[in-house]
């Protein structure tokens, strides 16, 4: 008997190898070094690995442009522009988060390389997710991502809230994963495969006389994803976890989980279950409406900035889902563009929340932000710009993101849904503006000056420049998103 080894396309896997390799190298090097490993060296390694991945992404992009989209390792992974762009977003998020995490670790006296090892491994998991072409591989990527994040959330040993948040996240995350994989098992039973392409082919060739099994499986898969992206009514964990986690980890989570989960969701819904569109679109309609409205309205009463941003992130997830609901090229490109632009904005926002949090990571009440822009005009202005972008104000990148998914929804005949989403954006505008105005209010003079370390300042500056630059000139990003989608949809 001969064992058939599937052909492996190493260029497609290189980003995953680089991140996982960097994690292993850091872990082994820190175990072998006699004295404690320098944090600066660990951060430099992570930054270097992220830059290396971005360089590889350029090579991958031109490879796909010449050779077209392919699958590798017996069709378990896809190598297309969609995965390349999503991988680049993950690498960029990792780079920015590593810098914020560095300053946080110095301030909180967290020693060791564990933070970077876990973050790199989690990012590698997200990369597996965006490249996956098989429900089992999506599950593996999801778990690699989640297991790393559970530990990162528990990383702050000085605050009880951190381990509490980790336990909540772990129990609900494990629940969601079990639901997801049960859905995969049922879809396997209905179609005879867990491979996304095979499922799509099977459903294209056959009409299921009793589609109950497939519907149940698809619904469970959708619930699993809804948990991960914190869509209402599966969002209950998110405010607690956002609040309890160390602030740089919150920013990291908010960005890469969304990239990984939305890329995988798009593949499952549009590639595998594309023929069942009439069945899942009404369900998604309800999810979009609930997620955007509830996220925006509950955020109104929050007094804690991290909780407020958690609900704001739920509201944003509603808009990202709106693009998926549209189920056309414009919608998918819109969702990809949304995720691409949301990642740096949210990381920069949480970088500011991290520095305002102060030693102990505890000053997160809205009160601490009163008069911030009067004391430190640059920091206040930066936060204002980032908030305006999440609000979707014109001249910021968030405007074009919202515009593109709304137009896609109108194209798909979702006038009512687009109206609901717009309404939620109007409600959200209220709390974003109120937050921004708090920054410019009069405050008592004894409020302390917030120290902004260098690496965090770099991240905040990059976030603001990104927001304004691509707000004025969204062309290149929109073209990439469009291009990535065209090479992906059938």
């Amino acid at each position: 008997m001969t064992v058939l080894v599937p052909s492996i396309h190493y260029l497609a896997l290189l980003p995953i190898f680089i991140f996982f390799g960097a994690a292993l190298v850091l872990m082994v090097a820190s175990a072998l070094s006699a004295k404690s490993f320098s944090l600066r060296l660990a951060t430099s390694t992570t930054v270097l690995a992220s830059v290396a991945v971005l360089v590889v992404n350029v090579a991958q992009w031109s490879y796909v442009a010449h050779h077209g989209a392919t699958t590798t390792i017996a069709h378990a992974l896809v190598f297309d522009d969609f995965s390349v762009v999503a991988t680049a977003v993950i690498a960029a998020s990792m780079l920015l988060s590593a810098l914020v995490g560095h300053d946080w670790a110095l301030r909180e006296r967290v020693v060791g390389v564990d933070y970077h090892v876990l973050a790199l491994a989690a990012s590698a998991g997200a990369m597996v997710m965006v490249q996956a072409n098989d429900l089992i591989v999506i599950f593996l990527g999801l778990e690699m991502l989640s297991l790393g994040l559970y530990v990162l959330v528990a990383f702050d040993r000085h605050r009880a809230a951190s381990s509490e948040a980790a336990l909540k996240y772990f129990l609900l995350g494990g629940f969601a994963s079990a639901i997801f994989i049960y859905g995969a098992a049922l879809v396997y039973g209905a179609t005879g495969s867990t491979n996304v392409s095979s499922i799509a082919y099977f459903l294209g060739q056959n009409v299921l006389l009793r589609p109950g099994l497939l519907y149940a499986g698809g619904a469970l898969l959708l619930i699993g994803f809804a948990f991960k992206v914190a869509a209402v009514p599966f969002h209950a964990w998110s405010p607690d976890v956002y609040q309890g986690a160390p602030t740089p980890v919150t920013g990291f989570m908010a960005s890469i989980v969304k990239v990984g989960a939305f890329a995988a969701l798009i593949r499952v819904l549009l590639s595998a279950l594309g023929t069942q569109m009439d069945t899942w679109r009404p369900i998604l309609w309800v999810l979009v409406a609930l997620t955007s409205l509830l996220g925006a309205s509950v955020a109104l009463v929050q007094r804690d900035v991290k909780r407020l941003l958690a609900y704001s992130s739920i509201n944003q997830a509603g808009f990202m889902l709106l693009g998926v609901w549209s189920a056309n090229v414009r919608g998918v490109a819109g969702t990809l563009f949304y995720v691409m632009t949301y990642a740096p904005v949210v990381i920069a926002t949480f970088a500011i929340v991290t520095v305002v949090g102060g030693v102990g990571d505890e000053h997160h009440a809205l009160e601490h932000y009163r008069g911030l822009a009067r004391r430190q005009p640059w920091l206040g202005a930066a936060l204002t710009v980032l908030l305006l972008s999440q609000l979707g104000a014109p001249l910021t990148v968030g405007f074009y993101a919202k515009y593109s998914v709304l137009v896609a929804a109108l194209d798909a005949g979702g006038g009512a849904l687009a109206l609901i989403a717009l309404l939620s954006a109007a409600i959200a505008a209220y709390f974003y503006l109120r937050f921004a105005l708090t920054l410019y209010e009069e405050s008592d003079d004894d409020a302390s000056h917030v120290a902004v370390p260098r690496a965090s300042a770099v991240v905040i500056t990059i976030g603001v420049i990104f927001t304004v630059l691509f707000g004025l000139w969204p062309g290149p990003l929109a073209t990439w998103a469009q291009h990535a989608t065209l090479l992906f949809l059938p």
Partner: protein, 101 residues
């Protein structure tokens, strides 16, 4: 005696239901954790049953992936439970009231 495959699926669905119900109703983190494991094992049974009825080895291979993930979840999960227990001397989730809003 030949047991029809459908029965295995029913047993798996019941196991999954018991796990999900337990997770939602029990208050001890350890029991909730066991319920997740129960759900994952129900998934394994489903995979094996379908693999058997379709004579397809891929479904049986999937079981190994699920088992590996379950084992990895145990290590991380128990670590978190121990960290919480050291701080509070209790694993009841009702006492986790630090975070609310």
């Amino acid at each position: 005696m030949n047991v029809p495959a459908a029965w295995y699926l029913v047993v798996a669905a019941l196991l999954f239901g018991v796990g999900a119900f337990g997770l939602l109703t029990r208050r001890s983190a350890l029991i909730m954790f066991m319920c997740i494991e129960l759900m994952l094992n129900a998934v394994n049974l489903t995979f094996v049953t379908f693999a058997r009825t379709m004579s397809d080895v891929a479904g049986q291979a999937s079981v190994f992936f699920v088992m590996v993930v379950a084992a990895a979840e145990v290590t991380v999960g128990l670590g978190i439970v121990v960290a919480v227990f050291r701080r509070r001397s209790s694993t009841s989730v009702d006492e986790l009231a630090e975070l609310h809003g």
